[in-house]
């Protein structure tokens, strides 16, 4: 075990950038959440009125958690903890898989295993790194809470709850790495388990029972199936339960022990779930560039589309609750706060009813989702070019135009599919609302309105790929990020108008206006076509940029 410190340090060194980004993201979320709570729900009365309404809306409970009274720290915990649990879960499972199955697949584990480090020390080093990082996340979050005035024991328990969830999912990640033959498979299984944990918690919270005070809830039994649910049950600012922490740590420890046993008993490069044999022959769909690009992007595109549909469903279902909220005498004040926020998201000239503001405002997020999927398709072209598979295709009688337009086509189709399924999801969610017909037409227009801006971003990413292939992955995502920050949140951050105008999202037609002005949509569609055509022409003219 003399090798353990070396292995541990090597892991921290490899992850140094990622760790900083993750930790900064966590701290930022807590700070931003705290700011939003003080701003929007400043006093006990406001929080009480919001909680009373939220308790009656399962859809909001699913997204947030179970309220625990009007204490500002407890309110923050209620709003954010479920999401933080999801994040820490993904962080830990990815970390566990990267340093175990990922190393094994890349052949690094073989190299390390041939040294005195042996079979178990690398696994132990990975587990230790995960535990230390979980503790760090907890310490940072507890520290921020303490700095915002939470009492010491509450802040400590809050951090501990998040750390414990991290440790539980660390075990999940390690076990998945033992089960699956490839890191892609292990990451997929682990992410599914984490998401399922989030979903079970959501079910438990939606089916919770209201406490006699009318301001707090106990989660339903579904939550007991989820480590995130256990973390929530700690209720660090109110009940201060310790035993759910033990539950999380025990799960992590059991899974670690099982993984260590498997690791020391199995062969290198073997897995509990055997790798499925591939097809002997290619299906007919795999005959040209479009079939090939579809095959490589099928799973992510389906993922984004399902995400869009679910988002639409929740959006449709929650909309009516928001209207009810404003229509109760209690809700006027909280409702006004929500209306202001939504108006800022929806754009400077947005008018119309609250429910339409809500719908169109949130459809901006669907636009983000769609654009991410579209940009991913273009980035795939770069990965194929750098990875050498593009060379194989282009050495066959396939023109650059035919090759690259396949990525553009799949990217654009992915954008359209995400928006379409979000609209369909919203239709289902709207069933039972009053004025269904009118609502549905607004939703459909909101979905359509997002399309041109998304296509412009995909086209600009394509142009980046054509002009600076080697920098295109970083630059492509940067373009998207800037467009999102300026266009979707520019209003919230109070950027001047000319800065916001840089983003195509800023020019998305406002469907809540009296008469919808679609001229910007036509202009943007034209820009998208011209830019995409230019990018394709440039791809034809440049050298294939291999490697790096």
């Amino acid at each position: 075990m003399k090798t353990l410190p070396t292995l541990l340090l090597a892991r921290f060194r490899r992850d140094r950038v990622q760790i900083i980004v993750w930790l900064a993201l966590f701290a930022l979320l807590e700070v931003a959440g705290r700011g939003a709570v003080t701003e929007t729900y400043g006093d006990d009365a406001e929080r009480a009125s919001v909680i009373r309404l939220v308790i009656m809306s399962p859809a909001i409970l699913m997204l947030r958690g179970t309220p625990q009274g009007t204490d500002p720290d407890a309110f923050q915990f209620f709003l954010l903890f479920g999401f933080l649990g999801l994040m820490v879960g993904l962080m830990m499972t990815f970390l566990a898989v990267r340093h175990t199955r990922g190393d094994e697949e890349a052949g690094r584990a073989e190299l390390v295993g041939s040294t005195p480090a042996g079979r178990i020390a690398p696994l132990l080093a990975t587990a230790l790194e995960g535990v230390i990082l979980s503790a760090l996340v907890g310490a940072i979050m507890g520290g921020v809470a303490f700095a915002y005035g939470a009492d010491a024991s509450g802040a400590l328990l809050y951090g501990a709850a998040l750390s414990a969830v991290g440790i539980a999912y660390l075990g999940v990640g390690l076990a998945c790495a033992q089960l699956m033959r490839t890191s892609r498979g292990a990451n997929g299984l682990a992410a599914a388990i984490v998401t399922l944990g989030y979903a079970f918690r959501a079910m438990g919270d939606a089916t919770g029972t209201v406490q006699p005070d009318g301001l707090s809830m106990e989660a339903g039994w579904w939550s007991w199936l989820s480590p995130i649910g256990w973390g929530q049950a700690v209720a660090p600012y109110t009940h201060q339960r310790l035993w759910p922490l033990a539950l999380c740590v025990a799960l992590g420890a059991v899974l670690f022990a099982a993984s260590a046993w498997l690791q020391s008993h199995r062969d290198l490069d073997s897995s509990i779930v055997p790798e499925r044999a591939g097809r002997l022959h290619a299906p007919l769909s795999l005959s040209g560039p479009i079939g090939l690009v579809w095959r490589t992007l099928r799973n992510p595109v389906i993922g984004w589309t399902v995400g869009g549909a679910l988002f639409g469903l929740v959006l449709g279902a929650v909309g009516q609750t928001v209207v009810d909220l404003v229509n109760t005498p209690d809700g006027q004040e909280a409702g006004q706060a929500i209306t202001d926020t939504l108006a800022a998201i929806a754009g400077p000239n947005a008018e119309g009813g609250l429910i339409d503001l809500f719908t169109t405002g949130l459809f901006g997020f669907v636009g983000v989702l769609a654009a991410v999927g579209g940009v991913q398709a273009i980035m795939r072209a770069r990965q194929d070019e750098a990875g050498g598979t593009a060379e194989l295709v282009l050495a066959a009688p396939v023109s650059r135009f035919r090759w690259f337009s396949a990525y553009l086509l799949i990217g654009a189709a992915s954008v359209a599919a995400v928006l379409a399924f979000a609209v369909l999801g919203a239709f289902v969610g709207l069933i039972g609302s009053p004025d269904v017909g009118e609502r549905m037409s607004t939703v459909a227009e909101a979905g359509l309105a997002q399309l041109p801006a998304c296509l412009v971003i995909v086209a600009v990413a394509a142009l980046v790929f054509a002009l600076v292939p080697r920098a295109s992955i970083a630059l492509g995502w940067a373009v998207l990020l800037v467009a999102i920050v300026l266009g979707q949140f520019g209003g919230l951050f109070g950027f001047p108008e000319w800065v916001r105008d840089i983003s195509p999202f800023t020019h998305t037609p406002i469907v809540t206006a009296e008469t919808i002005d679609w001229s910007a949509a036509w202009v943007m569609s034209g820009i998208a076509v011209v830019v995409a055509a230019g990018a394709t022409a440039l791809v034809r003219r440049r050298d294939l940029a291999l490697g790096g």
Binding site: E105, R181, T182, R184, E275, A277, G278, R279, L280, H281, A282, P283, L286, S287, G288, L292, R295, T296, G387, G388, T389, E391, L392, V393, L394, A395, A396, P397, V398, S399, D543, L544
Partner: protein, 313 residues
């Protein structure tokens, strides 16, 4: 004879790096042309220019008399290519990758012939097509590209170090398959730094170095430039008599053996002299490409320490 590949003063610059610096290459129809050079000499760069994947910075290149950049798609219908470093789609099985590459080349029009050919190649190369791309070793990835290239007929095969990941048994299979192609009149450009492979297969070779052609010709022509290595048992022969061997270079007395080299065209006189000396245990090693190759990179390799006995002559 028709010229299939022709480059004159071909240049390719990557920033300030001159990857190709005036490369001349001429490949005739129906020949196997060896394209030799150490790593980084510009072999792969030349091939990528010929395939229209990158554009030449200067000079000119033609394939079948056409421009490889402008007419890439039409030319590729006649070409099969195996890259030096084969990378596959991680989520496609080997069999799927082979089918895809063949379909892209339009090679599945005769389905039955293709299926039989693929089956045959998978068998001789002992290749399992059911595994996923990411789990294949380097050699197996290379087999995917080789099987796809050989499964349908082409006029020109461009093979970039095609056997660098294959074991000796598979190299032999590769040679057999290439030999079979030649019966059909195909042209092959075979880049390599494995000399035995080139000696076995190639009619003509071009040796390149730092982006330039330094030697080109048939093996016989090039052998002319090299020397035969001769050794015999020196016991009982007066050392002074060694000087009577005409055309002997670098003569070394190594214990009981005497070694020297001679120009290939001086061999009849050398053999006559050896018989006059009544030399026994004579071995004659024909000139190898290895030697030629080494000579061109001579200044890159440390001069081997030799105790020259030139003065004895």
């Amino acid at each position: 004879m028709n010229t299939v590949i022709e480059t004159r003063g071909l240049e390719k610059h990557f920033g300030r790096v001159r990857a190709l610096d005036g490369l001349d290459l001429s490949v005739e129809a129906g020949e196997v042309h060896g394209f030799l050079g150490p790593n980084g000499a510009g072999k792969s760069t030349t091939i990528r220019v010929l395939l229209g994947l990158i554009r030449a910075s200067g000079g000119n290149a033609t394939l079948f008399g056409r421009d490889p950049w402008r007419d890439a798609v039409e030319l590729h219908r006649r070409i099969a290519y195996v890259p030096g470093d084969v990378n596959l789609w991680s989520n496609l099985s080997g069999g799927e990758s082979i089918d895809l590459l063949t379909r892209l080349r339009g090679g599945t029009t005769d389905k039955r012939a293709y299926a039989a050919r693929r089956e045959h190649l998978a068998e001789v190369f002992q290749f399992d097509p059911s595994k996923k791309g990411r789990t294949y070793s380097k050699g197996n990835r290379q087999k995917v590209a080789l099987i796809a290239a050989l499964a349908t007929p082409a006029d020109l095969y461009i093979l970039d170090e095609p056997t660098s990941g294959l074991d000796p048994l598979m190299e032999a299979v590769f040679r057999q398959e290439i030999a079979a192609l030649l019966g059909d009149g195909a042209t092959v450009l075979l880049s390599s730094h494995i000399l035995s492979e080139v000696e076995h297969l190639c009619d003509r070779v071009s040796i390149i170095r730092a982006g330039r052609t330094v030697e080109t010709g048939t093996l016989a022509e090039l052998r002319h430039l090299t020397r035969t290595e001769i050794s015999f048992a020196g016991e009982g022969i007066d050392h002074a008599a060694f000087a009577t061997i005409p055309g002997a270079h670098d003569l070394v007395v190594d214990g009981a053996r005497v070694r020297f080299t001679a120009d290939s065209d001086a061999m009849p006189d050398v053999l006559a002299a050896l018989s006059r000396l009544r030399a026994t245990g004579v071995t004659v090693n024909p000139p190898s490409l290895e030697e030629l190759f080494m000579r061109h990179y001579h200044d890159e390799i440390d001069e081997p320490a030799r105790s020259s006995l030139e003065g004895v002559r």
